[in-house]
Each structure stands twice: as C-alpha cells, then as structure tokens.
C-alpha cells in the first residue's frame, strides 16, 4: 500500500494558539529572526484572553511597599502548597519586568497622578507574608486582557510573525525517539491538511473549560493542546484541579460578579430559605467562593434546588431599591435579562457554581519546556499559559496570576526555543514515514462513519457527567461512577457521525475534532479526581473533611505530589512537588486559611 502524503511546510518554530501566551512567545521568536508560524482557530484578538478583566499582578510597589517574595508567598499559599516553588519564584521575580515590557509594547495601563502604573487591591494579595492587603494588580480599566492582546498582536505584526488564522491543529508529530517535529493542521477554509514541520513547537492553546456543562469559558476553550499532547503520549499534570466561580447563570454559564452579593444579594433555595445562614452564620452570602459553592451544591444535592430539574439556586436582589440596582449593578441587570431571561429587579437570578479556570495541563518547567514524568525534557516541545502546568497555580490559582503566567512563561518558552535553535542550528530532523497516518485515519473514520453518535448530544452528555460527578464539591461514589460513565462516553466519541462531508468550512467536522480533545481532558480530570483522596485547594471531597490531623482535609503525608495522567492505559503516576525555590528558603507547609 502506498503512503498517503500531505503537503509539508517548514518553519523554525510553530506556535499553536494566538492568545496572550502564544503572542508573547511569538515576539521572542520573530524578534530573534526565526521563521515562525502561529496557528489559531480565530483571529488573534478574538482569543479568550479578552475575558480576563481583573488585571495582572506584579510587585511594582507603585502605591505602597511590595516585594516579589510576598507575591511568591501569596501564590504558594493560594496553590495550597501544590505549586512548584522554583517556578513560582521565577514568575513572581519576573513579574515587574514582564509588566514594564508590556507597557513598552504600548499597553494602556491605568496610571496614578504621577504617571506610574496604577495598582489596585485584589483578593489574596498581601504584604509581608500574609499580613495585610497590598495593591498589586495592574489593569487597563476592565479591559486588561483585551488591551494586552492588542499590544502583543501589534508587536508581532511589527516583527513579521506569520499568522495562520482559522486553522485548527490536529496532532503533534513525534518521532521514534520522542522528539516533537511540528504539528498537522487543518485549514478550515479549504479543508486542506498540512504538516507544519518545525524545530520547535510551542502549545499555547488555552484552557478546556468546555468539558463542564456550566462554564464561564467561551466555546473556543476545547483543550485542543491537551488532547493532542495526550494522544502523542505526553502525560497531563494535576488535571483534577479546576477553579469554580459560585455564581454563573444556570444554563448559560455567564458570570455574575461577586459584587452582587457585596451589594446585598442573597442566595435562596427552593424553600425560599436564605441557606447561607446555616453554613456561614457570620459571613453568610459573603463567605469565600469555595464555602458558598459547596453550600450551593449541598442544597441542590439534598433536593432543595430550584426549577423543574431542581438543579440551581436563586440569587435574589429583588429586595434592593431598583435605583441601587440601576446605579451599582447595571451590567448585571443586562446580563441577567439577556442570558437568564429575568429582570433581577423583579425576580431572582438562577445560578450554579460554574467552571472558570484549569490549573493543570501539559507538564513544563519554568523555562516553558515540556517535561517527561522522569524530569527529562521532551525535545522540541514547549507549552505556556492555561494549557501548561509549570506548576505555578498548584491546587488553586491566585487572582490576576493567569495573565502573569502567560506573559512570563510565554516569554520564557520563546527564549528557550531561541537558545535551543542557536545551540543546535542543524537542519530540520527528517519526518517519520508514517507521521500523518494516525491523523488521516481519524479524519477518514469521521468521513465514513455510519450509524454513529451525534457530536452535540455526546458533548452534552460528557458535560453533564462532568458537572454532576466531578464538580466543585466531590463525592467518592459519584467519582467512581463518573469514571465508568466517562469511559462509556469516550466510546461514543470515537464513533461520532457527521452529516456534512464537504471540504470547505466544514464546521461539523471541526466540532467533532474538538470533541476528540475535550474527552481526553474530561477523562484525565475524572480519573485524577477519583484517585486523589484528600481535599486540597479547588479539589474538595466530602470524604476528606476538615479534621485536626488534616486541616481542610489536606493530607500532605500522602498527597503532597503532582498527579500525572497517562492516556495509554488510562492510568496515573505521581511526581514530587518541588518545594525548593531558586534563591530563597522554602515556604514551609501551613494550613491555608484566609
């Protein structure tokens, strides 16, 4: 049988994803004169980085005294000590430089009267190792992510980065020695499948929040990088850790800010009871995110949810003066009318805890190099941003560290590529003869499948299963059942059928290919969560409660380690957390309390 061949394009480096991390990495490569291709499913300034509105943290100390070491402490504590302290030190030390560089790229930061970058307080940002709040978040009004993307994109245009817009990467190319030699990608407009042969490949594909039924993530966040990495035999790290927000609009996922409860919003169950009084008698509805989320799930699980399926609770502001709502919460009223069909002046808003951010991902070191379970690097492969796990967020991300992560590790991954290519300027390594076989077989299967499952229904079943069995509050039996359910759903994913077989702009095909990636993320999440029999950060289990021996249910003796999920065999291994920073003393284990 003759080999089917596909066109091959050659580059020094290929970057998949053109959000903040991909664009930041691309600047390093293009400005170093490397021939760089950036592939993106959408036009770069439409990446989900736009949704990051809060700001980017850096200990500039513009408003009051601050220090990177304090920022590091807050990040380690936020991570519930699962973050690697070398990577966290690196990120926090680099933060001021990263922000100033961005300013030089044209980022319109808010300023103080003296013309310095204005900094505002943010949850979890403290001075002097947790003593009192400090102003560390730098922002451009409420459009920080948007402004950042534009500044980075313009800089790339100047550096002649070559963009391939509305292309979807399908698979990594790896040779017998495990070296990554590029990606295979699909051009949506033509349906052409092309190999991007490169000395280095950087994944900056963002998160995969669409594995959940209720998610604040845009539809684009389908974990393409994680799916590709898993299929290429790269283990995924700490996938059980997902940050949830307590109040997403039920059904839609659109975020309702904490400010609503700050203005006097009350959570109610189907008995119209203000249930937070039972869970947090003092703070009530203003208790921390995790406490509120767990209380909401408990109400729903115990049958006091609202609506025909009893699957949400209500956020009530009808007792507030309509003038206050119009003045203080106009945006929320618009969102509620638009996405819940409810005017919150007249009726309460249906809400559920909603998936927001993925802490785990492709294992990397702080140089942005992908690492194998034994600590060696995967030659030719790099990752940065939400798809990567450096690991700086550990079990829970500190607010505003997501934008910092993509700036710092976008740059360090780019620098690593530049150095590697300079050190070894040889020609491209030859592609294996069968490099496109698996991808073409997958496409061919999809084109010829008869009597298979619907992509939409299968995705929905996966999302409902993740939400029910592996949500913000986790239960042993539900997790065990969830593993078996998600494996059944995986079988359907491998048999999806599409009606449209056309070449040009076949979005049905692209959605089926996205589902191939989502299911890998869903499996890795469910399996890792079922196995981790403690509570830590965002992973909270009913059977690992707060005790004197294990405060907050955290069990450092057994579980102070990173999970690594291997697609082959659907199994886990573990690796130690790096508790040794680069230059300072270890931030010693402590109970995480705010």
């Amino acid at each position: 049988m003759s080999k089917i061949t596909i066109p091959v394009r050659k580059f020094d480096a290929v970057i998949v994803g053109a959000g903040g991390a991909g664009l930041r990495a691309a600047i390093q490569l293009s400005e170093a004169g490397l021939k760089t291709a950036v592939l993106s499913k959408v036009f770069p300034t439409r990446s989900h980085t736009v949704a990051a509105q809060g700001g980017v943290s850096a200990s500039l100390g513009n408003s009051e005294e601050d220090h990177w070491h304090w920022h590091m402490y807050d990040t380690v504590k936020g991570s519930d000590w699962l973050g690697d302290q070398d990577a966290i030190e690196y990120m926090c030390r680099k933060a001021p430089e990263a922000v100033v560089e961005l300013e030089h790229f044209g980022m319109p930061f808010d300023r103080t009267d003296e013309g310095k970058i204005y900094q505002r307080p943010f949850g979890g940002h403290m001075s002097n190792f947790g003593e009192k709040p400090v102003r560390r978040a730098c922002a451009a009004a409420d459009r920080t992510g948007h402004a950042m993307l534009h500044a980075l994109y313009q800089r790339n245009v100047r550096a002649n980065t070559q963009f391939f817009v509305e292309w979807m990467a399908l698979d990594l190319i790896r040779d017998a020695e495990g070296q990554v030699l590029g990606v295979i990608a699909l051009e949506m407009e033509t349906g052409d499948v092309v190999a991007f042969h490169a000395k280095a490949t950087i994944f900056a594909t963002g998160g995969a929040g669409r594995i959940y039924y209720s998610s604040t993530n845009a539809f684009i966040n389908t974990g393409d990088g994680l799916g590709m990495a898993a299929r290429a035999g790269i283990a995924l790290e700490d996938m059980e850790f997902w940050q949830f927000h307590p109040t997403g609009v039920a059904g839609a996922g659109v975020l309702i800010t904490e400010g609503v409860r700050g203005e006097g919003g009350i959570l109610r169950n189907s008995d119209n009871e203000r249930f937070m009084e039972r869970y947090a008698p003092n703070a009530k509805d203003l208790a921390s995110r995790d406490v509120v989320s767990r209380a909401m799930v408990t109400e729903i699980n115990e049958g006091r949810g609202c609506g025909p399926h009893k699957d949400f609770v209500l956020l009530d502001i009808t007792h507030l003066d309509p003038a206050t709502i119009m003045k203080r919460l106009p945006g929320i009223r618009e969102i509620s009318i638009q996405f819940a069909g409810i005017d919150p002046i007249k009726a309460p808003i249906p809400v559920v805890p909603t998936c927001h951010y993925q802490m785990g991902g492709i294992p990397t070191n702080y140089h942005g190099q992908a690492v194998n379970p034994d600590g060696s690097t995967v030659k030719g492969f790099y990752a940065a941003g939400e798809c990567a796990c450096a690991s700086v967020h550990g079990a829970n991300r500190l607010g505003t560290n997501s934008l910092l992560d993509l700036l710092v590790f976008g740059k360090s991954s780019g620098d690593s590529v530049v150095e590697a290519i300079k050190a070894d300027p040889k020609d491209l390594k030859e592609l294996p003869a069968d490099f496109a076989e698996r991808t073409l077989a997958r496409l061919n299967r999809l084109n010829t499948q008869k009597g298979g499952a619907s992509v939409n229904e299968t995705r929905l079943e996966m999302q409902r299963t993740m939400q029910k069995h592996c949500g913000v509050f986790r239960f042993k039996d539900m997790l065990v059942e969830g593993v078996s359910k998600i494996c059944d759903i995986e079988k359907a994913v491998h048999l999806t059928e599409i009606g449209d077989k056309s070449q040009t702009w076949n979005t049905a095909r692209v959605e089926a290919l996205e589902l191939d990636n989502l299911i890998e993320v869903a499996k890795s999440t469910m399996v890792s969560a079922e196995a981790r029999k403690e509570s830590r950060g965002a992973h909270v289990r009913d059977d690992a409660p707060d005790t004197a021996a294990n405060p907050n249910g955290r069990d450092d003796e057994i579980w102070l380690k990173h999970s690594l999920w291997h697609r082959e065999g659907n199994r886990l291994s573990y690796k130690p957390v790096n508790l040794k920073p680069l230059s300072v003393e270890t931030i010693a284990l402590k109970t995480r309390a705010y």
């Binding site: 439409r46 638009q338 979005t507």
Partner: protein, 84 residues
C-alpha cells in the same frame, strides 16, 4: 464560496469568539433569525459579527448609539433574541 460553506463560516465567527456571552448571543441569533433577514439586514449582521466583542456589547446594551436605522433594527433583534 457555496452558500452552505458561507453560512458555516459565519457560524464559526459567531460561535468562536473571545467571550462566552457573545458566543451564546450571536449563535442563538444565527439559528433563530438569520434566515429571515432582508439582504440588507443580513449584511449588517455579518458586519456586526466581524466586530470585536468589547465593541459590540455596548451596542447591544444601548451604551453606544447605532450608526444607522438598519443597524439599529438588527441590534434590537439581537438584544431581544431568546437564548434560553
């Protein structure tokens, strides 16, 4: 480009956007109303879908004024689209 492909391209640009709010809103509009638009309205919708989310949202919420009466018609329909 064939009509089916063109519609698919528009669907992609309506449902793979920066923000979830816009994915939902434009996707729902496309399913429910696009087929019934006049050619003039359809052209306006395509132009709106080409805008960035943070430019489009103020139009939908009425914080920014529409440029002309056809745009205002389409924006009103967008604002009233039932997403549930």
């Amino acid at each position: 480009m064939e009509a089916g492909a063109e519609l698919n391209r528009l669907r992609w640009r309506c449902t793979r956007r920066a923000m979830l709010e816009m994915d939902i809103l434009l996707g729902s509009f496309l399913d429910k109303h696009y087929a019934g638009l006049t050619p003039e309205q359809a052209a306006v919708f395509v132009a709106l879908a080409d805008m960035e989310d943070l430019e489009l949202w103020p139009l939908i919420t009425g914080k920014r004024e529409c440029e002309n009466s056809v745009q205002a018609e389409v924006v009103t329909m967008l604002r009233n689209v039932k997403v549930k």
